[in-house]
């Protein structure tokens, strides 16, 4: 496997936290997707965020990525408000959501080239080769995205998010649609991440959360109802609580 990405750059950050939210509320009409989320994710941490469908995981990721403006409360990325100017702050983020953000009628290579130029990457060619090797999509680089399987598109989406070597990764159920090999690659990416790279990962899989998260949190109806360092948590108790939350048998 090619070497991991370059060391993330966040030295200029005035905050010890990569991500902070205070009293984050997001309402869509009368529906509250987030109801006062307080988070503080230090640099280098991998926060695994678990919750049932509709618990607010996706909205939280979208708010952290500044794709939705909170109704109340605040978001800080590297100590700064992502909604106020400073488009360069978005360079710190690599985001994977349910949408791959890829153009179906461009080839995989053209998509990566497009994002490479948009992110002002200087050595685009090398970087595309490096990242496509890392995610094992080199063989598909010159095929149109619409001809690729969902799993390969999801790998490409990860490649797109990692292309500019962001120090913060926001991953919304990134394992969806990935085959076993790709899941292993993802897990290795998260476990062997460069020092300082911060990850917020939402997942339905408690086992994946426990495997890669340095902290695990449960989100229920728009609120964080549990969070603990991986090394300190009671896995049995967490499994029971999560099963209760999602309505499954522990």
């Amino acid at each position: 496997m090619p070497p991991m990405a370059l060391a993330p750059q966040h030295d200029a950050s005035p905050s010890p936290y990569a991500i902070e939210t205070k009293g984050l509320v997001k309402r869509y009409g009368r529906t509250s997707a987030l109801r006062g989320v307080d988070l503080a994710v230090p640099w280098g941490e991998c926060l695994a965020l678990l919750g049932a469908n509709g618990s607010g995981k996706t909205t939280l990721i979208r708010a952290l990525a500044a794709l939705v403006r909170p109704t109340e409360g605040e978001v800080r990325i590297a100590g700064r408000d992502p909604f106020k100017g400073a488009p360069g702050l978005r360079r710190l983020l690599g985001v994977v959501t349910h949408q791959p953000f890829l153009y179906q009628d461009l080839t995989a290579y053209e998509n990566l080239l497009f994002y490479g130029r948009m992110y002002g990457i200087s050595d685009q060619e090398d970087r595309i080769q490096q990242i496509s090797g890392l995610l094992r999509v080199e063989a598909h680089l010159h095929r149109k995205v619409r001809t690729l399987s969902h799993g390969t598109q999801q790998r490409l989406s990860l490649a797109r998010a990692l292309l500019h070597d962001p120090p913060i990764l926001l991953l919304d159920e990134p394992e969806t649609g990935l085959d076993q090999e790709a899941q292993q690659i993802l897990e290795r990416l998260l476990k062997d991440r460069p020092p300082g790279r911060t990850v917020v990962l939402t997942t339905h899989s408690l086992e994946q959360g426990l495997a890669v998260g340095s902290r695990v949190a449960l989100l229920d109806r728009g609120r964080i109802v549990y969070q603990e360092q991986r090394d300190l948590l009671d896995a049995g108790g967490l499994r029971a609580r999560y099963a209760h939350l999602v309505g499954a048998t522990p």
Partner: protein, 224 residues
């Protein structure tokens, strides 16, 4: 400067490449505009006496409807592919996205107009292959696209976007369309060049104002 224009050109390059692959925008719009011109011709049966009155209006009605279709597709395609948020995540100011989209929409409209003009010229026996008309086309299309790009972004997040865009958009572009019709009539008549200059100046000012205003306001239109 480079940090601004490289991503602008990248967005326009991406849109043009996609259009070359799919031909989704220009082909459908071109067919629509050609049908409109042909229908108008058979409905109005212009004579040499009436051509000066009829031709400018017909030409700009065809261009307006064609242009509104181009504008509608500008952001709908991004939305349908789920790539609009990918653009919003890029570390560029929102006006970069605006100018990238403006350039591609402007070029698509010019391509459609360039294809319609010869057909229109033959059908209506109007001497439209005229350098002065080129100025009218470029300035009007720029003004039209400047407003259209903004309102396309506003309407893309609404449920009835096909209705919302024309309702929001047409009242705003009426002044530049009136100027275009008047200027085209002067070009066809070969009348006062001074009045032509005034209409062109008006269209240029309209384009300059709305390009600036739209670029400033564009960031607010994309937020959820």
């Amino acid at each position: 400067m480079r940090e601004f224009w490289v991503p602008v050109a990248t967005i326009a390059w991406k849109d043009l490449l996609l259009e070359l692959r799919t031909k989704e925008i220009v082909t459908s719009v071109l067919v629509f505009a050609l049908v409109a011109v042909v229908v108008f011709y058979f409905a109005l049966r212009p004579t040499p006496q009436t051509i000066g009155f009829v031709a400018p209006g017909v030409l700009w009605v065809a261009f307006t409807f064609a242009g509104s279709l181009v504008m509608m597709r500008t952001f709908v395609l991004e939305k349908e592919q789920g790539s609009l948020e990918g653009l919003m995540l890029c570390p560029v100011s929102r006006d970069v996205l605006y100018f990238g989209k403006l350039i591609s929409g402007f070029l698509f409209m010019l391509v459609v107009e360039a294809a319609i003009l010869p057909v229109f010229s033959v059908l209506f026996d109007a001497p439209l292959l005229n350098p002065a008309l080129f100025g009218v086309l470029v300035l009007t299309t720029l003004g039209f696209a400047s407003v259209g790009t903004l309102f396309s972004a506003i309407s893309v997040n609404t449920r009835s976007r096909e209705i919302m865009l024309p309702i929001l958009f047409f009242p705003m572009v009426v002044p530049v369309l009136i100027a275009a019709v008047a200027a085209t009539a002067i070009v066809l008549d070969g009348a006062s060049q001074e009045r032509l200059g005034q209409w062109l100046a008006f269209s240029g000012a309209f384009a300059a104002i709305f390009v600036t205003l739209s670029a400033l306001l564009f960031g607010y239109t994309l937020e959820e």
